[in-house]
Assembly symmetry: C2
Homo-oligomer: 146 residues x 2
DNA sequence: CTGTATACTTAGCATAGCTAATCATTAGCT
DNA sequence: AGCTAATGATTAGCTATGCTAAGTATACAG
């Protein structure tokens, strides 16, 4: 019972912290000159290699029409390329341009610097604790390929 | 140097985990019948007691016109009340209705159940670690009243 | 070769973010 | 008191991002 209580508390607290953490770093997003959906999609394209629009939509958990428009904007800004797949001419392959890769890295760095500035208020023990917790979270969150 | 490296890793990892965590629980939001901005604002009104529109906008880190419209929608749906402040008739006080409080609790519970389902894959030690990390994060994130 | 399924796009709607401009009220200064 | 500046909220209008429904083009199945 105590354990279940604790589980709920931890869940509630993690939830709240995740919201606040993202709000905090998101202030740096505007410096990238693109919206959050574009930034997130670009990130997947840069780090997740070339992939189709449907795959990208699935990773980003949005519907294909939404992703189609986001990609449209990224193409217009020269951050990704959109080419028809030679093996299946119905589908398109999205890949990052050099500019897209550069822009993303810069934005990512800004976000991380922002976060690091916050984290630097903590002592080494606390950082270690966060690191350990982060690895635990990765185990159950990032996988999700079931 | 090792410490700084670790700081960056932890920052990057936390950032990524926060994104994935919120994506995960956000799937439950639609069940509440209101959008994410409305849900988040309602949460503040319910748990943060009556407060003015400007205060609400600040907590939610959006501009007053944005919050004005969000509140407008919540009022229309009968989830919050909007009354002019007697002490300063320029400002308005937002407070939750019974319906708003109920709706929010239900949605919150759904999100948390979702999160708890994920967390229950972990053992007691790991949960404790997450709890500790969460308290550390709260210290540096939720405060921000400087 | 005809019909169905798949991948994407287009069209149209709702929510949510912003700035600029407006209105009402309060506060401050002589 | 009375004028002016500051403050709290709203309105108007733009952009971005989410959705569903419907359309187009290609692939596949018989």
């Amino acid at each position: 019972m105590t354990e279940k209580q604790s589980l709920e508390e931890v869940g509630r607290s993690l939830h709240s912290n995740a919201i606040h953490l993202l709000r905090h770093v998101r202030t740096e997003d505007s410096a990238m000159g693109i919206g959050p959906a574009q930034a997130s999609a670009l990130s997947v394209v840069v780090f997740g290699g070339p992939l189709t629009l449907n795959e990208l939509a699935e990773v980003e958990q949005v519907r294909p029409p939404t992703m189609s428009r986001v990609v449209e904007a990224l193409v217009k800004e020269g951050l990704v390329r959109r080419e028809t797949n030679r093996d299946d001419r119905r589908s398109v392959i999205i890949s990052p341009t050099d500019k897209g890769t550069r822009i993303l890295q810069e934005g990512r760095n800004r976000r991380e610097r922002r976060l690091i500035k916050l984290l630097s208020k903590l002592d080494a023990d606390e950082i270690r604790c966060l690191g350990k917790a982060s690895r635990i979270l990765s185990k159950i969150l990032v996988v999700e390929h079931s």
